[in-house]
Structures are given as structure tokens and as C-alpha cells.
């Protein structure tokens, strides 16, 4: 059982994600995480400002419970099922990241330069994380789903709209990494 403490390979993780989608389908629900962001906006009273948030959020309570589970799962995975959370990315990628100023590449789970609590003293870092978050929230709702809703659920159902969305995800991601990162870092 030692493998469980090691980083899980793709051929364990991928089928597990398919299993999670299967279980949700079999309890009459569906796999999609970003709709929870809309539900949370509604709970915070966004319905007073835009009709988009006027819906009975209690119907989505089940999905909030899934999110709570994802938080607990992150806790268990990190504190009980890991001996070392360093992410062993490609050595070439590590060198590139170091040249961009990410010295923590290859020694951490998230870049400490961006996510360490000390890094929050930098206005630039807070802005980068905020802009990233706004784009994720805005884009996911505009596209009607995120990685789970489109790339897994939608494509599993052979939906053309999901294919368009996933192509969009990659156009955006590749643009950010290849063209915008050199300007930011």
C-alpha cells in the first residue's frame, strides 16, 4: 500500500475521475464544479443585482456538499496520504521556471513565489492571483462549464459545444503561458 503515499500516476487518477463522474450520474446528479460558484453568489445575495442569480439555490445544495468533500479530500490527501508533496515536473520545465524567477520549481506543490503567505505582501502577486480567479469565474460561467463540466462530462456525452469550449481553454492557456507569462515574469 506504499503507492498510496506517492504521487498518483495518470492511469490511476484518470479512471478515478471517470468513476466519480459515474457515481454522480448514478445518484441522479452530474459532474460539474464551477456551477457552485454561481450558487455561492446567489447565497451571498447576488440575486438582488442580476436575474442570473435568481434561482432556488437549495436545489444545488448537493453540489456544495461535493465541494465540502473536495476540501476535506484535499486535507486528507495532503496531511495523511502524502510523505512528500514536491511535484516532480520535467527537469526542463524546472529550468525554464527558474529562469522566470520561480526558484521553488521542483521543490514544492505550488510555487512559493506566488502562493506563500509572505508572497501576499507583494501587490503584484495579489493582483495576479485575483486576475486569474476573475478570469476563471467569468470564463467558466460564460462558457457554461469548466474542466469537469466540459472536458470530462460534456465530452463524454460527445457534445460539440464542449469540444469548442475545451479548444477555447487551450487557446487561452497556451496564450497565457507562451505569450503573456514572458511579459509578467
Amino acid at each position: 500500500m506504499n503507492w498510496i503515499y506517492e504521487p498518483w500516476p495518470w492511469y490511476i487518477a484518470g479512471p478515478m475521475i471517470a468513476l466519480i463522474m459515474f457515481l454522480l450520474i448514478m445518484v441522479d446528479k452530474s459532474f460539474g464544479m464551477s456551477s457552485n460558484l454561481r450558487t455561492m453568489c446567489t447565497i451571498c445575495g447576488a440575486g438582488n443585482k442580476a436575474d442570473f442569480f435568481k434561482f432556488d439555490w437549495k436545489l444545488q445544495k448537493w453540489n456544495l456538499v461535493v465541494v465540502l468533500g473536495a476540501v476535506i479530500g484535499g486535507f486528507i490527501g495532503s496531511y495523511f496520504l502524502s510523505t512528500n508533496t514536491t511535484v516532480a515536473i520535467n527537469p526542463e520545465t524546472i529550468l525554464e521556471l527558474k529562469s522566470l524567477g520561480f526558484e521553488s520549481a521542483g521543490t514544492a506543490y505550488l510555487p512559493t513565489e506566488l502562493f506563500d503567505t509572505k508572497a501576499l505582501l507583494s501587490i503584484k502577486n495579489v493582483l495576479l492571483l485575483s486576475i486569474g480567479g476573475v478570469l476563471v469565474g467569468f470564463g467558466a460561467r460564460y462558457a457554461g462549464g469548466c474542466t469537469s463540466g466540459h472536458a470530462i462530462s460534456g465530452l463524454s456525452n460527445l457534445q460539440m459545444p464542449s469540444l469548442i469550449a475545451v479548444i477555447g481553454f487551450f487557446i487561452g492557456g497556451l496564450t497565457m503561458i507562451h505569450f503573456i507569462f514572458p511579459l509578467l515574469f
Binding site: W8, W10, A13, G14, P15, I17, A18, I25, M26, V27, D28, K29, S34, L37, C41, W62, V65, V66, G69, A70, V71, G73, G77, Y79, S82, I89, A108, Y109, L110, D116, L120, L129, I131, G132, G133, L135, V136, G137, F138, A140, R141, A143, G144, C146, T147, H150, G154, Q159, P161, S162, I164, A165, G168, F169, G172, G173, L174, M176, H178, I180
Partner: protein, 137 residues
């Protein structure tokens, strides 16, 4: 009882996402650099099995655990909303290194800074709700 089932499914998801490093900013960067098969393997194998599952459920008219007919609602036809929304999402995914599932997993793993990403993504969702009528769909 049902709540407990949803919670367990969520826990399974959180553990998988953390342990597979799909919640790691580094893995997302590496993916968009095409320098590792890891993320493509995860998404690709999930999708391969997912297609078999969904198509089997449809073909063999498999009922849910509660004996209900399973309906898959098709996504509304459009190009612009999926393409533009997708690009905006992709830009954020690469910058923050987290999508809406993993960002919650990272809370459990103890990364305080991820709250900034989550609050900002709520703001982004709210902005979409405000601007929805003015955007091409």
C-alpha cells in the same frame, strides 16, 4: 444519507485531485508547455472511460441507483459563448494554475492564498451575471 454519499464522492474527488497533482500550478504550466504527458493522461483516460460509461448508459438504458431514468441534457448550440468563454477561462486557468474543483481542494491542503483566487472567481462569476445580457452568446 444522500448528503453523506455526496460528501464521500467529494472526498474521493479531493483526494484524487490532490494526489494526482492536478491541483498543482506546476502541472498546469507543464501541461501548457507540452512537456509532460501526465495531465493529458489524466484527462484523456478519464474521458476515454467517461465516453464508454455515458454511451453505455444511453445505449443499454441503464437506470440510476434509485431506479430513475438517466437524462443527459444536451448543451445549447452556440459557438461564440463556448469559444470566448473558453478562452477567458483558459487564460485564468493557466495564470492561477487552478480550476474550480482543485481550488477548493487546495483550501483543504492548507494553502491560504488560494482564498484570493476563490473570492476573485466568485467576483468573476458575479461580473458575468451582471454583463450576461450584453455578451454575444
Amino acid at each position: 444519507m444522500r448528503t453523506l454519499i455526496y460528501l464521500c464522492i467529494g472526498i474521493l474527488f479531493g483526494i484524487t485531485i490532490f494526489k494526482s497533482e492536478a491541483a498543482s500550478w506546476f502541472r498546469i504550466y507543464e501541461m501548457f508547455k507540452f512537456e509532460s504527458f501526465h495531465m493529458y493522461g489524466i484527462i484523456g483516460s478519464a474521458l476515454f472511460i467517461g465516453i464508454i460509461i455515458v454511451q453505455s448508459i444511453k445505449r443499454f438504458k441503464i437506470k440510476s441507483f434509485y431506479g430513475e431514468k438517466i437524462n443527459f441534457s444536451p448543451k445549447a448550440k452556440s459557438f461564440s459563448r463556448y469559444m470566448f468563454g473558453g478562452i477567458i477561462f483558459g487564460l485564468g486557468w493557466a495564470l492561477a494554475g487552478a480550476c474550480p474543483g482543485p481550488m477548493f481542494t487546495l483550501v483543504g491542503a492548507g494553502y491560504i492564498s488560494i482564498f484570493i483566487v476563490i473570492i476573485a472567481s466568485l467576483l468573476g462569476t458575479f461580473l458575468y451575471g451582471l454583463l450576461k445580457g450584453k455578451l454575444p452568446h
